[in-house]
Subunit: 263 residues, 2 copies
């Protein structure tokens, strides 16, 4: 497999300003990158006051404004994009991540583990943890709070992912270090694209903690954002460098003993 | 549930000096503690040159020297002990951990995930990940390299463990931080008792990295050894403080969606 140039875009969306949020985020995608990951709900902002408001801003991924813009950009710039959006499917609303390819094809992941008030805004994801071909390799998608359940990234790994794209709107402080463990235990790459800024549209003020990062199968931070600013991080990754032996007698995939694991 | 005073004993065993290794380790157990965790293979040392040597030093946990000493000490001091030993069962040899209660009863865990040359020395554990009543709560046992497989501590958590006792002879640098993630994702306590020192009995020199620690269900280091020295760390833990909600709408046990997880 060939090397892939990956970028994570750390943004500061303004709630409800979909068009400018999309413009700003796409303007930050580096010209030479193969795969760019944008934050969770990068187009709408995070703190919906209720389900009805989320429904108004949610889009059909087949022909919604954001999805169309992503497809045009992906084609024009020959880049794969992963981005979090509010997805409408009939009466249902999901916190989803879109994967858009330069050829116009796309895939969707619907967040399985909803965080806090997301449970009253969104429907829980119903499509499991699929993996998708992209950039000559296999990628998996998970969103924000999915990180705390080791089964999420493990399932993506077992299904063949070499790179996990992880749009996020992180509020808790733990994920930054935990992703080191996630990459070590699975021996694959992860790209966390987080947002910054605060929202205070309900009684609860939320501050998002930035700290986007790209982590290697050895648990090394290949690139990370140091501070609370918008920015782009990039790393060149080699999907062939995943799932390698940890010692001459240990491979973390073949060493698993699922007959002794509970689900 | 009542609070439990836990100790982890960081030792420097001399290879093959079983009697003095046991004496030294037990002498370090604090007088008032309820549960003391000793390192992996604390009585024999780690680097067996071959399976035959391990067989000579392995013991029957029912009536071997070390097991009898542990039972006498546990009864005399009214303490629960967890300690790693080489276990002989007929022709088989396991890298095991004993749990010994003050009443003389005992339990055993046989290491499921063997590291590097352990695979030519020991048989792989065949008893899964049982949990045991101890100190008025439920404890689980895992050994050293088991940490890198999230399924180990997850299985113990699903089976009811509030405290995971983790004897170790750690060589890789990753476990110290990874145990923060393990405790956060499971919302239970973990006690890692590691050893220090070096062994160079084969062509490979091994240096063990100390860093024993007791970590809370919030991922806090309640106690940790700072340096490469023998020592004891202690913490008072509350099994009733495990498995608590992470947010008003999130509990990591009930939020799991195993229908979407692969094993």
């Amino acid at each position: 497999m060939t090397e892939i140039r990956i970028a994570a875009i750390q943004t500061h969306p303004e709630f409800g300003q979909v068009e400018s949020n999309v413009d700003t985020a796409l303007a930050a995608v580096p010209p030479e990158c193969d795969l760019a990951v944008l934050p969770e709900l990068f187009n709408t902002g995070y703190q919906f006051i209720n389900r009805a408001e989320a429904g108004e801003l949610a889009e059909d991924p087949a022909d919604g404004f954001t999805a169309r813009r992503l497809r045009v950009f992906a084609a024009d710039c020959a880049v794969h994009l992963v981005a979090g959006i509010a997805e409408r499917d009939g009466d249902r609303i999901f916190n989803s991540a879109l994967l858009v390819r330069p050829d116009g094809s796309w895939e969707i992941y619907r967040k399985i583990h909803l965080f806090w008030d997301e449970k009253i805004i969104f429907d829980p994801g119903d499509l499991g943890f699929p993996v998708f071909p992209a950039c000559g390799t296999t990628v998996g998608l998970m969103i924000c709070f999915d990180w705390i359940f080791p089964e999420a990234m493990r399932t993506l790994t077992l299904r063949g992912a070499h790179i996990v794209c992880h749009p996020a709107n992180l509020l808790l402080p733990y994920c930054y270090d935990a992703m080191i463990t996630r990459c070590l235990e699975n021996r694959i790459y992860a790209v966390t694209a987080n947002r910054i800024g605060s929202e205070h549209r309900t009684e609860t003020a939320l501050t998002f903690n930035g700290l986007s990062q790209i982590v290697s199968p050895l648990g090394e931070r290949l690139a990370a954002v140091d501070d609370q600013a918008c920015g782009v991080i990039e790393a060149v990754v080699d999907p062939g460098a995943t799932r390698q032996d940890l010692t001459p007698r240990n491979n973390l995939q073949s060493d698993r003993r699922p007959e002794f694991y509970d689900l």
